[in-house]
Symmetry: C2
C-alpha cells in the first residue's frame, strides 16, 4: 500500500469502509476522482454533505424524505387503508415503479437476521404496530424479499400483527416474467406450481 501517495491511501481506506464496497472498487473510485477536475470533485463532495444534511426518514413510513413526511405519505391521492411493508427504500421504489400500488408503505430498514445481529427491535416494527393500532389500515401486504431473512421477517410480522389488522397478505412467489422457465430454481418452480390459478 506504500505504492500510493498518502492522501490516496487515506481516501481508498475511507471509501472501502462503505458497506458493500470492496477494496478493488474503492481503488477504482479513487482513480476516477484523481482523473476528475478539482471543481468537479469539490462539487461532488458538496453534494454528498448536502444530501446527508437534508435527507432523513419519513416520520410515518420511514421512507427517504427531505420533509417531515415523504411525498407518498403526504399525498392525498393514496389509499390509507392499505400498507405495503418492505425491507428497504429500494424495494419501495421498485414497487412504486410498477405504478399499480396506490396505498401507503412501511419501510423496515432491514430484515430479521440473528446471524447478523439484526433483531426485531432493530427494525421499525414498533412504529408499524402503532400505525395498525390507529384502526385506519385494513390490509397489510408483506412484500419482504423472498430470501431466508425476508421470509423470516414476514413470518414474524404475520404472527405478531395477527388480530391487529383485518387482512395480512404476502406477495406471490413464482417464475419471473420474461425469464426462461428452464433457468428457474427448483424452489421457485415449486412455489409457482403451488400458486397456480385458473386461466
Amino acid at each position: 500500500m506504500d505504492y500510493y501517495p498518502e492522501s490516496v491511501i487515506r481516501l481508498i481506506n475511507e471509501i472501502a469502509r462503505l458497506p458493500g464496497i470492496g477494496y478493488k472498487s474503492a481503488i477504482k473510485i479513487a482513480y476516477n476522482l484523481i482523473e476528475m477536475s478539482e471543481p468537479e470533485v469539490v462539487k461532488l463532495a458538496k453534494s454528498m454533505v448536502e444530501m446527508k444534511k437534508k435527507v432523513h426518514y419519513c416520520r410515518q413510513c420511514h421512507h427517504l424524505t427531505e420533509d417531515e413526511l415523504c411525498s407518498i405519505c403526504a399525498s392525498d391521492k393514496r389509499d390509507r387503508s392499505i400498507i405495503c411493508v418492505v425491507d428497504t427504500p429500494r424495494d419501495l421504489i421498485a414497487i412504486e415503479k410498477t405504478r399499480e400500488f396506490h396505498g401507503l408503505y412501511h419501510v423496515l430498514h432491514g430484515r430479521i437476521s440473528p446471524l447478523d445481529g439484526v433483531r426485531p427491535q432493530d427494525l421499525t416494527i414498533a412504529s408499524l404496530e402503532k400505525r395498525l393500532a390507529g384502526g385506519e389500515v385494513k390490509e397489510m401486504i408483506l412484500a419482504n424479499s423472498p430470501t431466508l431473512e425476508g421470509e423470516s421477517t414476514a413470518v414474524y410480522l404475520s404472527k405478531t400483527m395477527h388480530g391487529k389488522v383485518d387482512k395480512i397478505t404476502r406477495i406471490a412467489h413464482g417464475v419471473p416474467i420474461g425469464g426462461d422457465l428452464e433457468f428457474a430454481d427448483e424452489i421457485t418452480l415449486l412455489k409457482a406450481m403451488e400458486g397456480r390459478h385458473d386461466y
Copy 2:
C-alpha cells in the same frame, strides 16, 4: 426518478457521471452514504477534496505523487538505465507488487484508440521521447496491456522510438500462472506455444 428526494437524485446523477460507474452502482453508493452518520460523510467528502488538491502526476514518469517527483523517480536505489512503459498507474503498481523490477517507469495515461478518440499526442509520449533523448536509458520495456489498444500502443512506440534507445522489449504473453489451461483462450495459448522456452 421522482421517487427519491431531490438532493438524493442530484447526488446519484453526480456519482453516475464518474467514468466506469453505472447508474445502479451510483444508487448503491448513495444508499451507503445515506446510512452513514453525518460526521462520517463530512470526513469522506473532505478526504476526497484533500486528495484532489494534493495529488498530481510525477514531472518525470507521470505516476501519482504529492511531490514534484514520485517516490520511485526520487529513489536512489532504482536502476535509471531501464524504463518500463505502462498504460496506467494501476499497471505500474501491479508490477511494483512483484518486487522484482528495480528500474524506472513511464505512465502513458491511456492507450492509443482511434475509436475512442485517443491519439498518440493525448498520451505522455513526447515526454517519454525526451527521457530517451537524455541518453541514460538503455532499455525500454513495453508493458502495455495485452489488449487490442495496448498492443497498438506498443507497436506504435516500438516504431517511433526505434533507434532512440539501444533495446526495446515487450513483456511475454502466455498462460497465467495458477490458471487452468483448459480455460485459456486460443490466442493466449497460441502465444504461450510460440513463446515456449527450454526447461
